[in-house]
Amino acid sequence: MQHRVFFWFTLPTLTAMVLFIALPIVSVFVQSLHIDHERVIVISESCGPFGCTQTTSVDTEANKKLREEKPLGRYNGLATYTNRSHLAFKEIGIAWSSTKNWSQFFSKALNLPFYKALAFTLTYTLVVTPFVLVLGLAIAVGVNNLSNRIKGPTIFVSLLPMMVTPLVGSLILFWMVDGDGIIGATLQLLFDDSSLSLKASPTLTWMMLIVYGIWHILPFSFIVFYAGLQTVPSETLEAAMIDGASKWQRVIYVIVPHLMPLVVFVTLILLMDNFRVFEPIVGFSAEAHAQSLSWIIFKDLRESANPLYGSAGATSMMTIIGVAILLTPVLIRTKRDFKQRSV
């Protein structure tokens, strides 16, 4: 295809992506280097019959004007990245020198907002992903053995948890595990503890979110593996049967190796998607015990009256770096595929 024709065909989509994906990333970076203006303070002296008193007050008028002139705020360099709510170098240094062993150090470090969010995000990603891979494969093998007539309805039902809006899905589960909901109330009855609440303890909150995460994304790995199972060569399976392989051995030695490329693909997609975890924290109102990187950006932007653009920008940049690290293997794999195709 000629360069000129290619240019006109791709112009609209490239414009959209540059304007609303590439430039915002630059804008986020610029924002992260700035911080809100200092308050303009005026000192006024009021003199009465008992002498003069000085009062200091914030000049809202001047503040507003300053903000209108320079909406970004003042230049702050990388200070936002290193302050207490982000990488917190100073606090980490203090924690390092004041604690004797690793567990003390970690418990101190994990009280800092950024590390707390990072810890949850990574735990969520690294727990949900393997569960979803194994369960997805198991269910795909199970569905594949069902008779054809019930396969269709089974797949239909299986798709629902993934298709439903994440916020809606988490609310539906949240209402069930609520203290008065069906699961929550039953658990209270079982453990004979009427104050038992999944929201009260950090561990239970994390488990609740992870269970939701598995429920929500399991259909994806199931569907991909199920589609992969349709392509397993029947000759190989028959050969394995002739050689006396049991059903279990056939799964482990024939089917799993055949699906291995898919396992890699699903893992990479799952890591990327789980790293963004955000809506369930809103849906489960779990922010007291579990915060993710996306959620703390959301919180900074929602800060009433005065959104913390600088702070949100710094967290965003670090999240993007995290995504980039996760993405590297995907990019390498895609590049290899392209080379193979062009050869």
Partner: protein, 293 residues
């Protein structure tokens, strides 16, 4: 010919069937339960005393005289004007899908036919963009949008959703067009068509299966979005999903949490229909790129 080992009841088969059964229960039960409960009053759906209250609607009978009540739906749709949010969602989703597919088809077609190095790099960039958490992009939009005074209105949100949609759309349509034989449009060009005419008269008639599948996913992305719509729309332009979230903020009063339940069920119905009618396309869309490599 069934062998002996195939006829014998296999414990592994039983376990795997049981697992599927359990999964179906876990997948479907929350939806059935919430749908059923949305026709009850709060005292039944959130019944501390006895979960069976939600089945028989003890409080619902007491309060309304019948075992089912539409009061939650009335409250959400009429009292809280949920229909307004539904209309906004309709507008946003419709235009996002149409614009997204139009520009995505052109771009995906060109990328599939180019074979040049820069086409490859555009696809790689799109892959990186697809992985960006949406909320990080939103934090880059807010300040400029406030400055230019385009925050809070539907067109801005539509354009942003179209852009966020593009990487995925491009990849799907790119792999779809790779499977359309090159000879088709090339022979049209040998007959004297320009590239655009070849696209118009040869490619457009055969591209609909790929476009429909891609459109479904564009629909899902626009419909399910929370990060963008909740941050970029003003209160009177809210769509359904942020509206549900705002119900939660104001539903401390008895009965009002049922508005949110009704709103959640209402928002799920279109998705349910979508899966029902387009199951085959959704499955094939999820697996393109995966199975083919």
């Amino acid at each position: 010919m069934a062998t002996k080992s195939q006829l014998r009841v296999n414990p592994l088969a039983i376990i795997s069937t049981a697992l599927v059964g359990l999964w179906l229960l876990i997948a479907a039960f929350p939806f059935i339960w919430t749908l059923w409960g949305s026709f009850k009053v709060q005292g039944d759906f959130f019944s501390k005393a006895d979960w069976q209250n939600a089945l028989y609607g003890v409080h619902t009978v007491k309060e309304t005289g019948s075992a089912f009540t539409g009061s939650a739906y009335y409250g959400a749709w009429v009292q809280e004007e949920y229909y307004h949010a539904a209309i906004n969602t309709g507008i946003v989703v419709f235009f996002t899908v149409i614009i997204s597919l139009t520009i995505g088809t052109l771009g995906g077609y060109a990328l599939a036919r180019s074979g040049k190095r820069y086409a490859f790099w555009i696809l790689m960039a799109a892959l990186v963009f697809r992985a960006m958490p949406h909320i990080t992009l939103v934090s880059g939009y807010l300040l400029p949008f406030f400055e230019w005074n385009i925050w809070g209105i539907l067109p801005t949100t539509i354009i942003v959703l179209v852009a966020i949609n593009q990487p995925f759309t491009l990849w799907m349509l790119h792999s779809f067009f790779l499977n359309v034989p090159r000879e088709m449009d090339e022979s049209a060009m040998v007959d004297g068509c320009t590239r655009f005419q070849a696209f118009r008269y040869v490619i457009i008639p055969v591209m609909w299966p790929g476009v429909i599948t891609t459109g479904l996913f564009s629909f899902l992305l626009a419909y399910n979005d929370f990060a963008v719509t909740s941050m970029l729309l003003s209160e009177q332009n809210e769509t359904m999903i942020p509206k549900i979230a705002s119900f939660l903020g104001t539903t401390q009063i008895e009965g009002n949490v049922m508005f949110a339940v009704a709103a959640v069920v209402s928002a799920t119905v279109p998705l349910f229909m979508l899966v029902l009618f387009f199951q085959r396309q959704i499955v094939s869309g999820l697996t393109t790129g995966a199975v083919k490599g």
